[in-house]
């Protein structure tokens, strides 16, 4: 194997390398355990920060949200929940479909793949203070571009860690979405059940007291 720069790279510079060399990068990561859980965690936290930053600090004319009626806590919880659920769902289905990736691998691939979006989102928030509404198309286009980039990275990353064909990656991604829906449904049912239980207990105690 030829020696190149990335093999001796620090785990915090590694995601930046993968950004432009997803195929080599993820392969190497899988083979030599180059992925860093800390780096992945930091990226996910950055994502969370950027999502909040985007809602709170985009300039008014380019901000589709009304900051007064946006709960930043809710945004953060939803962001993290989405990420965790996607990882878990993917892990569940890929284990069944002979995927070689472990939970940590999935977590790291997901996080590293988010990096383009995180960076572009951050830059667009800063740009929003310079651009006016007519030029806002620049922002939306660059965000779409970043999202496409993220998708490509996720596809390649999953392909590498699970040792799948592209067809199977797409199938597993579809199943992941299904898995998320199932999880949400179960959560909803559970919440409703507990609500019923709560009301039942509350009514009984109310009846007992009066």
């Amino acid at each position: 194997m030829k020696r190149s720069g990335f093999q001796t790279m620090s785990p915090y510079r590694y995601p930046l390398y993968i950004l432009f060399h997803p195929k080599d990068g993820f392969q190497e990561m899988k083979a030599n355990k180059k992925g860093s859980l800390t780096a992945a965690g930091i990226i996910v936290l950055l994502w969370l920060f950027v999502e909040v930053f985007y809602r709170a600090f985009t300039d008014y004319d380019l901000n589709p949200f009304e900051i007064e009626s946006t709960s930043l806590f809710r945004v953060s919880v939803i962001t993290i929940m989405m990420y965790v659920m996607a990882c878990v769902a993917n892990w569940c289905f890929c284990t069944l479909l002979d995927g070689k990736g472990r939970m940590t691998d999935i977590f790291i691939v997901g996080a590293y793949s988010l990096l383009p979006y995180v960076i572009v989102r951050f830059v667009t928030v800063l740009l929003s203070w310079l651009l006016i509404q007519d030029e806002g198309i620049l922002i939306s286009y660059s965000v779409v571009l970043a999202q496409v980039w993220c998708c490509i990275m996720i596809l390649i990353g999953l392909q590498e860690i699970h040792e799948y064909s592209m067809k199977k990656v797409l199938l597993s991604l579809f199943l992941t979405v299904v898995g998320i829906v199932i999880m949400l449904f179960l959560a909803l049912v559970l919440i409703m059940l507990f609500q019923q239980l709560y009301y039942f207990v509350a009514t009984v105690s109310f009846e007992l007291r009066y």
Binding site: D59, Y60, D61, L130, I132, Q133, D134
Partner: protein
Amino acid sequence: MKRIIITLTAIFLALSLCTQTAYAFQPDEAYTYDGSEAVPSTNVFQVNTIIDGTVMGCANLKSAQDIFVDSRDWIYILDSGNCRIVVLDENYHCVRELTEFNYEGTVLTLAEGAQGLFFQESTGYLYIADTKNNRVLLSDLDGSVKKVYEKPESALLDASVPYAPRKIIVDNMGLMYVTSVNVNTGALLIDSENNFLGFYGTNAIKETWEIALEYMWRSILTDEQNAQSQYSFQPTEFNNIFWSEERFVYAVSPVSDTIASPVVKLNALGNNVFPGDTTFGDLALFQELGDTAKANEMPLFSDITVDNEGVFTILDTNKGRLYQYDDSCNLLAVFGGIGAQRGLFTTPISIESDSKNQILVLDADKNTITVMNQTYYGKKIREATVLHNEGLYEEALEPWFEVVRMNANYSLAYVGIGKAYMELGEYELAKEYFKVAGDRENYSEAKEMVRSEKIRESFAGIAACVIIGMVVILGYDFFKKQILKIRKAVTAKKGEVKR
């Protein structure tokens, strides 16, 4: 001791009475819309007087259906329950009372339940839509009828539908626009010789995917199957029409899923010139409630009136409320409500505005006319909007500030202030006000101005930086070359020495 207590109580009582008379008391909480959210507001209208039989100096009204106010502020009332026309002068005293009309030697009377009245000032003739008698009477103020218009002859008019004129307006040429019960193809355009000229201003059908789907099904299914279909996409008929001096016809229709807008301003061709996406009255709220809305929460727009500044007011009979808008459909005021108190109505049926910007509300149940005049706040809003709509933003600045001082919830005022500051070149301030108003488009414009101003200001600095940078880079290259040359020369020399 007892005496002191009694005097104190008396004083307090007197004081409490004082406070009640000192404020313009309005029983209903005023509100306005900030975006789609209803927020508290200051009262824009208050009760001036209430006209009933004692004020008029004649018998009380009985389920009157229509009023008309001319430019002298004379009021013409169609007192349908008593089958008469009452004419009041500007002091609300009865000057004429018409019950019998002479037509070529015979005496005509109105049938109970006549619905429409129009007074043409240039000729001095009254047009009365005598609904139950299926005719329109053209009479002067002395009660002598000049003409009786029965159903015009035309193949376009369905013979099976009886002619029952409801509301009538007449333009300067003497053309009558008559709405008839159960005719949903618009107002009938009739000339002074009773020739039917055509329909005017049919309500446009809203283009929704449901209608497209239904249209597709109808083209596939057989006629028998179509006949069974319950779905109808017929337009609703006008509830009321109004002729404005600027030669536009304003019309209100019942709210329905099929028509594009219940409030329209029609040009000579019968096309709506209002922006199509405006929601009038509490329509937004009603649409938000969706299927859970009760029947009495559905707006029922029954009359519209326009004053000489282009400000129009619509009446929602179900809620008893009046909504006033300026020419660009910005909400200026919401007032009224259902109730027995002064300033509330039970069945408001017809509204008119007079030359002093007062609104007259005819209540068919209370049998009174309530005259509402503008409060100080209302006058300021009016002054500001009129200046604003004429483009005199700077002049409107002072009244807008006064409006904001009295009601901080009125978002249009902030737009006005922002525009004034734009005019004055205070772009940063303008930006702030547009943000408060929630006006992203104008905010962006102000931001652009701020940006170009900053670039202009710091252009010298930027240019200097660029020039210095270029000099540095070029200079660096130059010196690098020189140094390399020297080094080469030195090494060459050293080599020579070594050799």
